[in-house]
């Protein structure tokens, strides 16, 4: 879902469209909409305005030579945007302090996940962006010490970048291990764990693999036939795989934990005075209730069904068993 563009976002889009169109020449509306991740209808509306926008002249009124112009026929007949006259602005708008901080922190975070060469490039890019605005720029509000990453993550990023297949031994949720060769499609993080969406050549279909269950991971020389994509086409939620019909569970969650549980598709009711809210959730697997508690240990209570409560209780008791010597 694309979120609504607010006024400031639309102003930035208008300012960004000018240098983009100058660089790229006539561009179809749909292509622009995809590039800037907005609805084509909104883009058309903004472009129609851009074609009439301008600067009030000496007489305090808008004169033809002080206005932007577009090829109106191309827009109406071919849905093609072509900027024919530009006034006042012509280059990419500067990054705001918050935008710059977000980009630099993002690059810092990336360094932990990239193969060596790309990591150095990310560091250089961050330094370039930080240094470009000199002393006038306020210091950044954000910074990141990259988390040390699982070594399998940069290996997979590298393989995806090279368009290669990978092979590994995979231990599934039931604990059985099998050899897999896959074409990586998408690598993403959810609640702290990394997942690889890939076309599994052994099974002949797309599967989602947990990186932390892979062993002997290696990049192969064979090129992958299927292109990778970061588009969030597939949900990586616990319910993504096929299985028995979900059981509806009633739970209670503390307000601050809600973002950590976003992948579970909770339907949350109003928040009470104590900061807790009732919610319902699909329990796809016997383990889903435990997974909910694992995602936010102190901030979730499974209310029903009793089997799910019992599963959480048993899970916690088992862990407490490791500390038996300290029980009174």
């Amino acid at each position: 879902m694309r979120s609504q563009l607010q006024t400031p976002d639309r102003v930035v889009l208008l300012l960004a469209l000018v240098p983009y169109l100058r660089e790229h020449g006539p561009t179809p509306v749909n292509e622009l909409a995809e590039t800037f991740d907005v609805e084509p209808a909104l883009l058309r509306k903004l472009v129609r305005f851009l074609g009439t926008a301008g600067v009030p002249g000496e007489t305090q009124s808008y004169q033809h030579e002080d206005l932007f112009d577009i090829d109106w026929t191309a827009l109406e007949d071919e849905d093609l945007v072509s900027l024919t006259h530009v006034v006042a602005v012509d280059d990419t708008p500067r990054f705001s302090a918050a935008e710059r901080a977000a980009l630099i922190a993002g690059l810092q975070m990336l360094t932990g996940m990239l193969p060596t060469e790309e990591r150095e490039r990310a560091e250089r890019t961050a330094a370039k962006l930080a240094g470009a605005f000199g002393d006038t720029a306020p210091p950044s509000a954000l910074s990141v010490t990259a988390d040390p990453q699982d070594a399998r993550v940069p290996l997979l990023v590298g393989a995806i970048g090279n368009g290669h297949r990978v092979a590994f031994a995979y231990r599934d949720a039931r604990g059985s291990e099998s050899a897999r060769s896959v074409e990586p499609l998408q690598l993403r993080q959810s609640s702290g764990a990394w997942y690889l969406r890939a076309f599994c050549l052994e099974r002949g279909e797309e599967r989602t693999f947990r990186i932390d269950r892979m062993r002997d991971l290696r990049e192969l020389d064979e090129a992958a036939a299927r292109p990778a994509s970061a588009a969030p086409a597939t949900r990586f939620s616990a319910g993504a795989a096929s299985g028995p019909a979900a059981q509806r569970g009633r739970i209670r969650v503390r307000l601050d934990a809600a973002p950590r549980l976003a992948d579970f598709g909770l339907e949350t009711g109003p928040v009470g005075r104590d900061g807790w809210a009732d919610a319902t959730v699909d329990l796809w697997y016997p383990g889903t209730a435990v997974a909910l508690v694992q995602a936010a240990p102190g901030a979730v209570e499974i209310v029903s069904p009793e089997s799910a409560r019992a599963a959480v209780r048993a899970w916690a008791e088992q862990a407490l068993g490791l500390y038996d010597d300290e029980r009174d």
Partner: protein, 356 residues
């Protein structure tokens, strides 16, 4: 926003969408190197002019103008004001302009295709949680900065958004250099404590977001976990001494030193998720020494906060056991007992009596 302009003094509601008015204002301000007065702008710029009545002052239009200036500053477009030499302080004579050099990226700042790809990946990392609007605007600007590989085809989707609700308010306060107040809940206390601080930086380390701040009541540097800030952040009018910011880098170094010296020894089940997640962070990784424990590996790692680490470890259940230090052991036990107690029979939170 436009609706508010219709209240008050006489200016009718404009039918011009906000972005058309604000964009027209940018063009007018860039195009006049000597600057334009408010009256010149309101009487001529598209979106204002249709509501401007000659010879009359319109408070609604002026308020609109102020809000539009604020919106532009928020997206990184600085507006210069030039006071009238005859009557400094008379805002009716102040001239406004936007310097084209400051509006646009410096001419010498250009990125290669691969650099742009990394930047887009960095922008995409913020699609959820905090900074979604900023990252989206940054992504638009990156598109106009030049060709690059479409990151969709990189197949890597990072998530960096700060889930803690305190983050956006703190970040704006840091940028504006304003003092903030919030309640801070320490795990071993019943009630949160009120804090009044100069917020200096949000820093992510040890997998968690921290606020580096100068505590104004204690007159000392303090580091707060964002996840323990409860009940919202209140930004005050008071501006803090910008020199305080010079202490940030030292504080972050201190944080990283602390992470190195605050050690924990864990036993993780071999092949478990706990091992996969914790071993990249471990300083040492060896097979369990004790006979009969071959199924486990012993990890030694540093952490910034034993309580927060305990919550993280509790989530791994029986796949990890804390060997030392004792306070981490007891914190994990407390977490697990809390979970077991919350799920004791019958359901404490269950509204249906009788059937349980």
């Amino acid at each position: 926003m436009v609706a508010a302009a219709s209240q008050g003094s006489g200016a009718p509601r404009s039918s011009v969408p906000g972005e058309q008015r604000v964009f027209s204002l940018v063009l007018a301000l860039v195009a006049s190197p000597q600057g334009a007065t408010k009256r010149e702008l309101l009487s001529s710029v598209y979106g204002y002019a249709d509501r401007y009545q000659h010879g009359e002052r319109s408070d609604a239009l002026e308020r609109q103008f102020e809000r539009d200036k604020d919106q532009l500053r928020a997206i990184g477009i600085p507006i210069d004001t030039i006071d009238s030499p005859e009557e400094p302080g008379n805002t009716q004579l102040t001239r406004y302009r936007i310097s084209k050099e400051l509006l646009q990226v410096p001419r010498d700042l250009r990125f290669s295709e691969r650099e742009l790809t990394l930047l887009r990946l960095a922008a995409m990392a913020w699609r959820e949680g905090s900074l979604t609007a900023e990252s989206r605007r940054a992504a638009m600007k990156l598109e106009s900065l030049g060709a690059g590989l479409d990151v969709q085809h990189l197949g890597v989707s990072l998530r960096l958004g700060i889930p803690e609700p305190a983050a956006p308010a703190l970040q704006s306060a840091i940028d504006a250099g304003r003092v903030v107040r919030f309640d801070y809940q320490l795990p071993h206390r019943d009630a949160p404590l009120g804090r009044r601080v100069a917020p200096l930086r949000l820093h992510r380390a040890d997998g968690r977001w921290h606020l580096i701040a100068h505590d104004l009541d204690r007159d000392d540097e303090r580091v707060f976990l964002l996840s323990r800030i409860v009940g919202g952040v209140r930004t005050e009018r008071e501006v803090f001494d910008p020199m305080l910011r010079h202490r940030v880098d030292g504080e972050i170094e201190e944080l990283l030193r602390l992470e190195r010296v605050q050690r924990a020894t864990l036993e993780v089940r071999r092949g478990s998720v706990a091992e996969a997640r914790l071993s990249p962070r471990a300083a040492s990784h060896e097979d369990a020494a004790e006979p009969g424990c071959e199924a486990t590996a012993r990890l030694e790692l540093g952490t910034l906060d034993y309580r927060a680490f305990a919550e993280e470890l509790a989530a791994f259940g029986a796949d990890v056991a804390v060997v030392e230090p004792p306070q981490l052991r007891s914190a994990v036990i407390a977490e697990l007992r809390g979970i077991a107690g919350r799920h004791a029979v019958p359901a404490a939170g269950s509204a249906e009596g009788g059937t349980a």
